[in-house]
């Protein structure tokens, strides 16, 4: 199972990158060869593949959308 996550590239080497995500986690070895970002760029990642580069404004918007969903997460009717 994967989720589309937005994060910032912390280091790039040979088509792979370390990406720090907005949810506080980071992932090494993200395949960035499809989009070739520079260090500091915002990327959208699904699984271990970076699918796009986002501008700072769009990244901010995505972060806010993410936080809204997390905060407003629908109450779990099955919670015990």
């Amino acid at each position: 199972m994967c989720i589309t996550r937005v994060g910032r590239v912390e280091a790039v080497s040979g088509g792979r990158a370390r990406v720090a995500f907005f949810d506080g986690r980071a992932l090494d070895g993200v395949d960035v060869s499809v989009v070739s970002p520079r260090k500091g760029a915002y990327v959208e990642v699904f699984g271990n593949l970076a699918l796009s580069i986002l501008g700072p404004a769009e990244a901010k918007q995505r972060r806010e959308a993410w936080e809204t969903i997390k905060k407003a997460s629908v109450p779990d009717p099955f919670a015990r």
Partner: protein, 257 residues
């Protein structure tokens, strides 16, 4: 519903969520909980609690459960999501569309609208559809282009990320060799290619893999053998994977216009 049925569902779900969690793609960093429960063949509140914190998988289970009046960990619910079964037909398109817009982090609302406008009820809350439609459509305006030289990488990523199935052709201590049909792209359309063999990891301490044998059909997620499938499950995963491929090909065709 009996707790046995619930445990079966929790364990089935955990088996399929295990590898992406181990790789750091989804869910909390608590893989040891999954391993302990899978090796002990027992559910438990700590496992359920951990699985509920997966950002996409659990919301999908809740969607299917809500629509069909079941518990999210009722065996048929995770089975519908990962493998496919008749419950998928009961989730109507507007509910799935609203869920995709509001409950799934990271989805672009306009893209979601385009997908549902193009597919209607052909969009199913099946894991393989979720994966392929994410990679294959531009939830990303300047993102992957399945026609350029990125294509092979993207199709390979889709193939690892979907739940596939194969037949065991060799049993090793930590690896199985399986024959399976990979996802391929030809002339801009996805399909299942000719069978080929590949090596996948498995855990022989997880039931029923202690007795896995040649010819057994297994589900595969990120090159990890998750479970041994019944003939009914093999028919279902084949059926729903092919339907998903048809749906995603419709999306790809729309993009070309």
């Amino acid at each position: 519903m009996s707790s046995d049925m619930n445990d079966r569902g929790v364990l089935f779900h955990a088996k399929h969520a295990f590898m992406p969690n181990t790789l750091g793609y989804c869910g909390p960093d608590e893989r040891d909980i999954i391993v302990r429960h899978l090796e002990g063949s027992s559910g438990g509140e700590d496992l359920e609690s951990m699985l509920k914190r997966f950002e996409a998988a659990y919301p999908f289970l809740r969607l299917i459960a809500r629509t069909t009046g079941r518990d999210p960990f009722d065996f048929a619910v995770p089975e519908a999501y990962w493998i496919g079964n008749g419950l998928l037909e009961k989730v109507n398109a507007p509910d799935f569309r609203d869920f995709s817009r509001m409950d799934l982090p990271g989805r672009d609302e306009q893209e979601v609208n385009r997908v549902f406008k193009a597919l209607g009820p052909r969009a199913r809350p099946h894991h393989t559809f979720y994966v392929m439609s994410t990679y294959a459509t531009a939830s990303v305006r300047d993102g992957p282009n399945l026609k350029n030289d990125s294509r092979d990488r993207i199709v390979t990523a889709m193939d690892s990320c979907r739940v596939s199935w194969g037949k065991v052709t060799r049993v090793g201590k930590e690896k199985l060799q399986v024959e399976y049909s990979p996802l391929v792209m030809d002339q801009g359309r996805l399909s299942l290619g000719k069978p080929k063999t590949k090596s996948v990891s498995y855990n022989s301490r997880v039931r029923p893999f202690e007795g896995v044998k040649l010819g057994d059909p297994v589900s595969i997620h990120w090159d990890y053998a998750c479970d041994v499938l019944s003939p009914r499950q093999v028919r279902n995963i084949a059926k729903y994977t092919l339907l998903d491929i048809q749906s995603v090909n419709r999306l790809l065709a729309k993009r070309e216009r």
